[in-house]
């Protein structure tokens, strides 16, 4: 067989959070990545969000480090304003034809000063703020955008449309405006493609009865989100867009464009709207300085994710009202409000007025994405979501093309991030032979030894065109800098960040043997890495650098007071010089990485993680405490897509057994654990010792044993898994049964277990449909609190209703009553629709028993990873790091993290493997830099530093009785340094003497 060409590069389409994650994981695994984004900047929908549920994290705060990481990654080539025209070839060797549309700005010159925008006369509706305010024709999408380069809206620019104006070109201090740019086509050669095109919010304008199109007091939830945002049109002040009045009452209308085939053709549930509505309701109430009344009108509240149920309860406790009713008609009021007529849960007809209505719109696939699917030959479902299977949730119908994010179905951020990592793993599964062939590395000269030399500081004061110099007297600051201690050289520069200034800086460092550099310019948050690279290129340790932010923190905010601004710039420069004088070179060390993974748990998650790692060429050891592999899936009949789980498990097991990279230890558990990322050593209870670089915890969870509804007392009362087992065994009694009652939320969503087990509603409707199809005469009753068949699973719920399954809702305070009389079971439940009690005598009563964690606290202690209060393993970040632990080298997959269905388990397993590969792929890991160390002479061994370290990076060396920092685990926050009474921990780069010198210089 001829060797097929394999290209060690991948293309990721879409620069939202999913695309970014996929790009980062691929690039960090040794593949060159083209990240294609059609707009000016990456960030996607998440950049528009104010807060994220259920932690109320600031969305921009958590996404912006990721934006910067993508923007600066040496192996990610960012192609903005780029469209994909065609994908030719096959997996391993695709040729992707793209069109790069002109930005009309030379990106290498633009310094993002914003002078152009100030002068631009054209006002355009601002998409970032959902058209609630205006931007200019030359603009950045948002202030933190990456790349932070302006672009011209060709359809609106006067110069480009009418050939007149040109004022941006005139004012640009960097001469970056180029009206002559033309679109260019290019062909990119990549081994695989990941599509992350995202979604658009459903546009409710066609729903005439909602009056969105013509009533300013009806807005969409994304518009409302922008209203809440600190960077939004009203800077977080909630006012109605029509009359700018503060609303006293707000109503959220759920399922607008979701779960609706009458008007919207969208039968699916959009999965996120309940949660974002709750979030927006909470935040709106927090923003209002008055008692804002918020009501959410809903059909079922679907708070099915980790910590979501508590969030919902919190909202109720805060006084947010939840009304179970679908509003169909909004009647505008003369004085600027809206009126609803609705029927309550108890069948009463009511009228209520609100000042503002917010439509919780669903997520839909854009027309462009639909075109793309057609053009590239990708199968989709009837809602235009990409077709995938539960067992390979990110692989599309065309081999070599993968997907993540909302393209495969509506989902929230952590699920998108998980899928993104999974897609990275899948997309590189066939490319591992070409790993590292196209990636680039930076070669830097060995740094010169400055040991024993007094500080020789070079100071550069930037004009930033006119951004700084128009306010601050730069020459005066330069003259002042020359008088500061240890300053050997001070000079001004037009653009400190320009290529020629970098070259000049390198030359000066070498010629004058400067050993510390201070740049007074813009923000170290954006520019410090650039200057640090320049230092490194000049052979100076890159940590001998300090910045003073005289633009963002000075000239831009004190324009009206040049004298004080100049004085402040002098002080800031002095502070930077004072700290710089005390900086010492920081070393980065390399540690070996053992390229093996230990996978704890041999269920679907663990096995998929091991197989995914094997595809990438890494060995793993799977530890399973049971006698056989497969975990809880051994008891499951089929997935919600009707895929046979037993058959799948057989195949999975066969693959694992045949895989030379995987060894399995059955009836074994973790004994002793030593080491840290790159170098773990785990002794198993069977005596085997495993050396491994990473650990993946996939220990699963349990189906609880209910303590109610006669479970365990009457043989006709079963749990979901017991029913599945009986159906798998083709149990005659089940086949012959005529009446089934399913009870949902048995042990879930109760005060002692305040979470939703996520899979049970789908499991029930799937079982019901399965039974009904086999036996159409069977009578099936489902007693539920909220049906939570999210995403495309809503179709199953509908199918069950169409097949005649009867759904009866109950409340926590009126749970069904189960009794037995002889052999017969009696189930009594109050039906809120008819207002009467129903009495059913089922042949089987099936309980949706809560899924409970195995509370692996011993395992958690051994690897120093946390469990949350429900016993689930607790991830590093609930939104953006859903498979990582805070401790480096530790990952998780499957339902030990939280209950989830098969496709999400497989995705998380692939994701954990992808994250693990980013560690395993480096034979050596660089550690150090800005990390803590312990001054042994000052340490009393009291353990405060150990207790406060969020990353378990400090431990007490028992032999010495002193603390020690593991550089590989330390993230450099300095909490240890400030908590120690004797100042034994030293945070390199932010030392006590350096910071004291800054304080002294500030005053």
């Amino acid at each position: 067989m001829a060797t097929k060409k394999v290209v060690g590069a991948a293309l990721v389409a879409g620069g939202g959070v999913a695309g970014m994650q996929a790009a980062l994981d691929l690039a960090n695994a040794g593949y060159y990545v083209y990240l294609v984004e059609k707009s000016l900047a990456i960030g996607g929908r998440m950049s528009q969000l104010d807060k994220t549920f259920p932690t109320n994290d600031c969305s921009m705060c958590i996404i912006s480090p990721k934006l910067v990481e993508v923007g600066r990654h040496i192996n990610i080539e960012l192609l903005t304003l780029t469209d994909i025209l065609a994908i030719d070839g096959a997996e391993g060797d695709f040729r992707v034809r793209v069109r790069k549309n002109p930005r009309y700005i030379d990106m290498s010159k633009c310094i993002a000063c914003g002078e152009c925008t100030k002068k631009c006369p054209v006002k355009v509706d601002n998409e970032y703020n959902e058209l609630l305010d205006k931007r200019k024709a030359i603009y950045v999408q948002y202030a933190q955008a990456v790349p932070l380069k302006y672009g011209i809206d060709a359809e609106k620019c006067l110069m480009l449309t009418k050939g007149k104006c040109g004022s941006c070109q005139k004012v640009c201090p960097a001469k970056a405006v180029d009206y002559g740019q033309k679109a260019e086509e290019a062909v990119l050669n990549v081994g695989s493609v990941v599509l992350a095109p995202g979604f658009k919010p459903y546009n409710p304008k066609d729903f005439e009865t909602y009056r969105y199109a013509d009533d300013p007091n009806v807005m969409t939830a994304l518009e409302f989100e922008r209203l809440l945002g600190a960077t939004g049109p009203t800077m977080g002040h909630v006012v109605r867009s029509g009359d700018h009045k503060e609303p006293q009452s707000i109503a959220f209308l759920q399922c607008v464009g979701s779960r609706d085939i009458n008007r919207a053709d969208n039968g699916y549930c959009s999965s996120v709207c309940c949660m974002y509505a709750i979030k927006e309701a909470i935040i709106a109430k927090e923003h209002a300085k008055y008692d804002l009344q918020v009501t959410v009108f809903y059909m079922d509240i679907r708070s099915f994710g980790k910590d979501f149920e508590r969030y919902y309860e919190k909202a109720k406790a805060k006084g947010i009202r939840f009304v179970r009713s679908r509003i169909h008609t909004v009647q505008p009021l003369k004085d600027g409000g809206v009126r609803f007529h609705y029927v309550t849960d108890h069948g009463q007809s009511t009228t209520e007025d609100f000042d503002l209505a917010v439509l919780s719109h669903g997520l839909v696939i854009t027309g462009e994405t639909q075109d793309m699917s057609r053009k590239f030959g990708l199968e989709t479902d009837k809602y235009n979501f990409a077709k995938t299977s539960s067992f390979s949730p990110v692989a599309l119908s065309r081999p070599g093309i993968y997907a993540c994010g909302v393209f495969t179905g509506p989902k929230d951020i952590p699920s998108s991030v998980m899928e993104a990592s999974a897609a990275a793993a899948a997309a590189s599964s066939k490319l591992s032979s070409a790993r590292g062939t196209l990636t680039r590395t930076v070669n830097v000269p060995a740094p010169m030894d400055i040991n024993g030399e007094p500080p020789r500081i070079g100071v550069f004061i930037c004009h930033c065109g006119i951004n700084i110099a128009s306010v601050i007297d730069v020459p005066k600051v330069v003259e002042f800098a020359k008088t500061l201690p240890f300053v050997e050289f001070a000079s001004n520069t037009m653009f400190a960040c320009s290529q020629d200034n970098q070259e000049q800086m390198v030359k000066l460092i070498k010629d004058m043997r400067l050993n510390r550099i201070v740049v007074s310019a813009c923000s170290p948050r954006t520019h410090e890495p650039l200057f640090m690279e320049t230092l490194a290129a000049a052979g100076l340790n890159k940590y001998l650098f300090e910045m003073a932010n005289i633009r963002n923190h000075d000239s831009w905010v004190h324009a009206g007071n040049p004298e004080e601004a100049t004085r402040k710039a002098m002080d800031m420069t002095e502070m930077a010089v004072a700290k710089a004088a005390l900086l010492t070179p920081l070393t980065e060390n390399v540690i070996d990485v053992d390229p093996t993974a230990l996978v704890i748990g041999g269920g679907v998650a663990g096995l998929n993680a091991a197989l995914t790692l094997s595809q990438q060429g890494f060995k793993s050891v799977v530890v399973e405490k049971a006698e056989k592999l497969g975990g809880i899936a051994n008891r499951i009949l089929s997935t919600s897509k009707d895929e046979d789980v037993g058959k799948y498990l057989d195949e999975l097991q066969a693959k694992v057994e045949a895989d030379p990279n995987i060894s399995v230890a059955l009836k074994a558990e973790v004994g002793q654990v030593e080491g840290f990322v790159g170098n773990f050593e785990t002794t198993l209870t069977n005596g085997e010792t495993v050396k491994h670089g990473v650990t993946i915890i996939a220990t699963g969870a349990l189906e609880s044993k209910p303590a109610e509804y006669l479970y365990g007392q009457n043989p006709k009362v079963l749990t979901h898994l017991e029913l599945d087992e009986r159906m798998k065994a083709r149990d005659e009694a089940v086949d012959a049964a005529r009446t089934f009652v399913f009870v949902q939320c048995v042990g879930s969503r109760e005060p002692e277990r305040m979470y939703c087990s996520k899979v049970c509603c789908t499991h029930t409707v799937h079982s019901a449909v399965h039974i009904k199809k086999k036996n159409p005469d069977a009578r099936i009753f489902v007693l539920y609190r909220d049906m939570r068949t999210y995403a495309q699973k809503e179709d199953l719920y509908k199918e069950a209703r169409d097949l005649g399954v009867i759904f009866v809702r109950y409340d926590l305070d009126s749970k069904p009553k189960v009794s037995e009389s002889g052999e017969a079971l009696n189930v009594e439940v109050h039906d809120p629709v008819s207002g009467r009690n129903l009495l059913i005598n089922p042949d089987f009563l099936v309980l949706a028993a809560a899924i409970v964690s195995g509370r692996e606290s011993e395992l958690a202690m051994k690897y120093k990873v946390p469990l949350d209060e429900d016993g689930w393993f607790f991830e590093a970040h609930q939104k953006l790091r859903p498979v990582d632990f805070a401790t480096d080298g530790m990952f998780m997959a499957g339902i030990c993290h939280y209950p989830k269905p098969m496709d999400e388990v497989v995705a998380q397993a692939q994701a954990a493997a992808a994250r693990a590969v980013t560690v395993l792929t480096q034979p050596k890991m660089t550690v150090g830099g800005i990390v803590a160390e312990i001054n042994q002479a000052k340490c009393s061994g009291c353990g405060v530093c150990v207790a406060v370290c969020p990353f378990s990076a400090v431990k007490i060396d028992e032999a010495k009785g002193k603390a020690a920092v593991n550089e590989a685990m330390c993230k450099g926050c300095g909490t240890c340094a400030s908590s120690c009474r004797s100042d034994a921990p030293i945070l390199r780069g932010f030392t006590n003497d350096g910071l004291f010198a800054q304080i002294a210089a500030a005053l």
Partner: protein
Amino acid sequence: MTSLPDLNQKIQSAAKRLLAEGKAEVVIGCRQGTTPMTVAPIFCRTEDDCNQLIWSNFAKINLATYLPKYPGKVAIIAKGCDARSAVGQVVEKQIERENLYIVGVACGGLVDVEQIQAREPRPIRAAEEDWATIKLSGDGWSSSLPKEDVLRRNCKTCVSRTPEGVADELIGEPTEALPADDYADLKALAGQSLEEKMAYFKGLVKNCLRCYACRNACPLCYCPVCFVDETRPQWLGKSQDEMDTFTFHLLRAFHCSGRCTSCGGCEAACPMDIKLREFNRLLDEEVQKDWNYLPGLSWDQTPPLTTYRPDDEADFIK
């Protein structure tokens, strides 16, 4: 109530037994001082040493201060505050639990020599004591004072007079805990003007010599290098600057917050009779109010500055 001689007898036999059984290589306790109304620490390794052990109303030193200096198996004759400090040292890993044996002694509170001298200005040549009374005598005179009248301030609000729960054995009948400090004086002061607050606290330390006797007497001050001795950076000037002195006391109290057992060792050690605990009390009040924390009451406590709750008080933050 066990008489003092009986109590001393029991302490001595316990100490001898512990040495004989090898449960301790040294027993730390108090012996009579060389001048009236004083006691000194004694580190018993022999029966003879043990015969000197006493419990005294004048035992103002916190014996736990000596524990970290003895790496082997140590027993401590501990009143409530000593025991709590010893527990704190185990929690803070300065000593190992298995090397520590606590002989708890029920304490009825200690007396304040300054107050005695204020009431009895004649030179005191000898003092006899029992649970309730201090009998004083001098050249040709004798008098007696009810102990209640001259109790140390910290002892009046002691919530752990008997080291129950943490002691390996207990001598004497448990004494009831007293009502906790209500901080009424500090609360009243909080309502005063800034000038009055400043005057009060700066006034407290105006005579401070920065001799650090308070630090040396404190069972919490075991740092190899104290911040006052730091040079890079120099946290505190070496001169007698008022603000440096004030800063020393603020930081000393801050370092003791959530750890101080109100033993009063610092005040007892101060040659200038500074009411040092006022600074500690400022923080103790907050630690108890916000985190409901009293140090040294159990072996598995988490000191409040090594942990947090997401819903900690945050009203002072904008």
